[in-house]
């Protein structure tokens, strides 16, 4: 088999969903930092979102499985801590998909711009932490629905 191009590998990785927020891909999340061939070994560099994110090991497993399914035999996963992951690396497509899914995308102002359900700007924080380490818990005071806000870091 010919070695697949790095571009091809990025496309494959873009089809691997985040295990906790399956509407976005690992590439959308911005945690894949590099893909490179070192002779016959494919090295994928991944950075964790949060130090203790329990999804990290699942993510590594999903990456390996996906690449093996595409016929790549030697895969090496590298963990990179610096530069530390930032929500600036979420792709615009990822942000749009989050909102569509009901999760308010991160905003530099530190809070959601609007309710992802009804679009109202009347929102308030319930708790600094939500259902996963990367999210906070907010609610809309117009439609009264609670929602997750993707923390801006």
């Amino acid at each position: 088999m010919d070695q697949p191009t790095v571009k091809q590998v990025w496309e494959w990785l873009d089809a691997v969903p985040d295990p906790e927020i399956p509407v976005i891909s690992l590439v959308d999340l911005g945690i894949i930092r590099d893909v490179a061939w070192e002779e016959d070994t494919l090295t994928v560099t991944v950075t964790p979102t949060y130090s203790g994110c329990p999804a990290t090991s699942i993510i590594n497993l999903d990456i390996e499985t996906a690449l093996r399914d595409h016929g790549i035999k030697k895969v090496e996963l590298k963990r990179q801590l610096s530069p530390a992951w930032t929500t600036d690396w979420l792709t615009d497509r990822g942000k749009a998909r989050l909102e569509e899914y009901g999760i308010a995308p991160p905003q530099p102002a530190g809070g959601p711009e609007r309710c992802p359900h009804c679009g109202s700007k009347n929102v308030q924080k319930v708790s600094q932490f939500g259902s996963t380490p990367c999210k906070a818990h907010w609610r809309c005071t117009d439609c009264l629905e609670p929602f997750d806000y993707f923390k801006c870091i």
């Binding site: 949060y50 203790g52 329990p54 801590l81 610096s82 530069p83 319930v126 600094q128 932490f129």
Partner: protein
């Protein structure tokens, strides 16, 4: 003490602080007063355990005896732990948990900020990763200390009681020994004694807003970070945290 031994001790101190406090925090899982706090505490604990994996993982590499983070966490006994005594104190009521969190977060944020400039690239990259989480923890614990301190008569008195109980454990953060001296001369970590003013200013500001009174007595309980004498609480914590690995050594799933 060689430079390598000093670095190992320094890394144990960093990792044991987050491991022991992370375990304490996780004791609230499923029993916190409200669901939102339960989730927040569990997430905070998770950040700490994640940071522990980095610190103790690196500690094991520096030691060079084949110990990984898990082995260091689960196969050492109380006298080999190097966490601040503050971290091992019992959770008490919710007020005591939040007060301890705030007193630790304030120090952690100042200390981690210095480590960003560490001459050891592994240390600075762990600090870089941790610093965002630490800033978020401090924001939350400071806000909650203010809300409860400047809350009802009941919450105020509990927070003052927690502060009076925990304050003797603050001084240990600023004591320096030969491990610290070796880290300072190598440019790896800051001199702990030089951080007190910044800490006091930060803590005073928040506690003023919380209408709480900082105790005047600066007597410091010590013996955690150098392992000379832990409190009676650490052994009980380890009993529960290490139970599985003690009964089934190296058990895996």
């Amino acid at each position: 003490m060689t430079q390598q031994e000093a670095l190992f001790q320094f890394l144990l101190r960093m990792g044991d602080n987050t491991l022991i406090l992370g375990h304490r925090t996780s004791e609230w899982c499923g029993v916190a007063p409200v669901l939102e706090e339960d989730i927040a505490l569990a997430n905070t604990a998770l950040d700490f355990i994640g940071q522990t994996q980095f610190w103790l993982g690196y500690a094991g590499e520096v030691e060079g005896k084949g110990q990984d983070a898990d082995r260091l966490a689960f196969h050492r006994d109380a006298w080999d732990f190097r966490n601040l005594l503050l971290c091992e104190m019992p959770i008490g009521d919710f007020g005591q948990t939040i007060m301890r969190q705030f007193l630790f977060d304030a120090w952690h944020s100042i200390y981690i900020a210095r480590l960003l400039k560490s001459s050891d690239p592994r240390v600075s990259e762990i600090a870089e990763k941790a610093s965002k989480e630490v800033a978020y923890h401090l924001e939350r614990s400071a806000e909650t200390v203010v809300a409860l301190g400047d809350g009802t008569e009941e919450s105020h008195s509990r927070m003052q009681k927690a502060l009076d109980y925990l304050y003797p454990y603050v001084g240990e953060m600023f004591l320096a020994d030969d491990v610290d001296a070796a880290m300072v001369s190598a440019g790896i970590a800051p001199d702990p004694t030089a951080l007190r003013d910044e800490y006091d200013a930060l803590v005073q500001k928040v506690l003023d807003e919380a209408t709480l009174t900082v105790p005047g007595n600066r007597f410091a309980q010590k013996g955690g970070k150098n392992g000379a004498m832990h409190t009676e609480h650490l052994g009980h914590l380890l009993c529960s945290m290490q139970w599985l690995q003690r009964v089934y050594p190296d058990g895996n799933w």
